[in-house]
Symmetry: C4
């Protein structure tokens, strides 16, 4: 704790959890196993099979990026507050379940998208064999639902930390940024629900483009950040 | 240890083990691997296969819930007493073996039940292809035996902690609640044996309903809790 | 360290390593993965497949027992001396490699033995389809070689600890028992080499019984224990 | 930290990270899983299949050696500087991704080489079925690219540590040897790029021999070591 936040920790938070708890240990293993499940392949048998692996690598990269992003959010939460009570343990278990249940659907999605954009489909095996236009809205329900659930869990976790701010010993800055995390998670949850609603409300032809609305996550972060800054200002003067 | 039990630990117990021991580390990995084995699937190849995964997710949820329940019981035991001697290590090894040996039978069971209740069977492939009425009593032996063995191990583990209460430094409240755990585990063990006996003694037609007796676990917990309270009262006055 | 050896540690040794090092962490994961590889099956599809799993469970139990035995030897070594230097790291890597390379051969062996003793072979598929009498001596080479290599590694590890006894700060008792471990490991290594030699020297008909000589491990432990006691006596008077 | 470097740590460095951080924990699991993926086989069904496993064991040994080499480099980096900031976390994630994406290509390569040198190919299934001479240069691109990327990441990690030398509290000797690591990693990266260039520039017949240039890694280490010594000398007088 005596060391600079530049090496270990963050600007706005003092890290409380120093040694890895068993909840974190179990979670790390599940995260890593999900990564390994996503990477499981068969050994290529010829040069052609070897060079054909680049598409799988791209698809793995997409899954890997998403899972590591969730892992870091998880990591930061536990380092900041070092909570191990039964509510956190339960919410964490639900998160791990979602990860394990969604890894194969996620790989299905990334493989399809990679194949689509890199010319992996042909006239004999068109993309419509795998997925038709009319089915796309259901994908928004499946994957948007995953996002909504995961960020709903993060919202509950951060709200739990905020409720115990006194016991944890959070200072003003830390309280404000904990609240920022709650609002950001609720924002992403709301965005996901909105996107699902649009996918079902809009004409089928537009549904592939609805997903672009996820770029609004940047806007959500900006709005929440502004609110945090404004809350911090008067208290610091 | 200076921190409130509301954040880390429990009301009735002071947590002794702070850093994860190697016995716990090995156990965490085995627990997580069992979860991953339960989640292992193949990547869906089409939209229909993707949407068909909801049954697997339900079945995974049931296995996941049971394993996480056992993990938390395991976690709490090691945090409370921080025992690493050779008896605990041996009992723990037997527990890990049971987990690894039972994961596939458990998945068989949850898949069957999920399929049965969600209309997954049809006239061409009726449930009796997988399981007949007359075989149900054997299932009680297999799964009731697993429950009995697991809770027998927990009874032995807690009894071991109780026997070394002085060396661990348990206070009166902690001793009473350690004894509660021994009695609760023996209660669940006895309930399991009783259920197995009933499944074999009662007519075949009744055997599917015998399992409902597991709801008596709540009663067992209540009786043991009353005994703990009554033991605690006089000592506190 | 302030706590009784009855709870954490051993009679003859003070445990030095308290937090799990990364060498131990990596090793734990590899040990657990080897256990999981041994347990990997497919989900039974019917009641008959389910009840047929008992043979696999027996076979798993044998592998599990051996691997947990090696894990505990490993665990005790690192707890006692807390060594993390490059020699220990290299010897440990070789041990992990042997584990990963031998898990499938071990499962082959345990499955064969379980099937043989539980009537799993029939007239149509006799054991000689899998293994003939003349091939048994080669099995002694393969598995005796594994045992010899593993105990050779333990001998080197303990000899390494003995060589750095001053720096680790071992007391007389600990030095004597470290030397005991070196001698015991060399004894098992020598026994393995002897068994392999006998399997090749004796007539084929006798080769299945050569393995019984492994029961002499108890004798080896007893002889080494006597030597340790006699070394300890004069020093304590 | 009070203990001798001979037991724990290194001559030129004081180890800072004592407890395993979550970044290291996640990485350990991924490393171990990659090892397990490389070891995954099927259980041999007969004596012939059992004895045929020696080629797989050789191939596993080669993969195992490379991965453990990378693990130790990784281990040493984190023990020396104990960095957990977001730059290190990101570079580490890319390293884990490369490991997961390259494990199957690595196994393809080691299996091919082992088969080639141990007479595993025959007239009916010649090596050219798997790989032709003209394709070898592409292998240099694939595997040389992996090496270049991994050492590029190590160069960035060590450069990051060097940039924060004051905050970490590195002494002169440690600064010089951190710089040595940066230069060595850049050297291996440059060597890899050179080898790829040669493989494409030289005639096809020579391409199998280009890989021998990796033995120049020893030269790179020697040159960097000389530079480090010369930088250390004047400062110590």
């Amino acid at each position: 704790m005596s060391r600079s936040y530049k090496l270990r920790g963050e600007k706005n938070f003092q890290w409380r959890g120093m040694d890895v708890s068993r909840i974190e240990n179990l979670s790390d293993i599940v995260f890593a196993l999900v990564l390994a499940l996503a990477a499981t392949q068969s050994i290529p048998k010829s040069f052609d099979e070897l060079t054909g692996l680049w598409r799988d690598a791209l698809s793995l990269a997409a899954c890997f990026g998403l899972i590591i992003f969730l892992w870091r959010t998880h990591h930061v939460f536990f380092r900041r507050y070092d909570l191990q009570d039964s509510a956190v343990s339960t919410l964490n278990a639900v998160l791990l379940f979602l990860l394990l249940a969604y890894i194969y659907p996620l790989m299905f999605m990334t493989e399809f998208v990679v194949k689509l954009y890199t010319g992996g489909f042909s006239a004999e095996s068109p993309p419509s064999n795998v997925l038709t236009f009319a089915q796309i809205k259901w994908l928004y329900l499946i994957y948007g639902g995953f996002f909504a659930a995961v960020f709903g869990l993060f919202a509950l976790l951060y709200a739990h930390a905020l409720r115990h701010a006194d016991e944890i010993g959070l200072n003003t800055r830390e309280r404000v940024y904990t609240r920022y995390e709650v609002e950001f998670a609720i924002g992403v949850l709301a965005l996901s629900v909105l996107i699902i609603a649009c996918a079902f409300a809009l004409p089928t032809a537009l549904s592939p483009f609805v997903g672009m609305a996820y770029s609004l996550m940047g806007l959500v972060a900006w709005v929440c950040g502004m609110r945090a800054e404004s809350r911090l200002k008067p208290e610091e003067t």
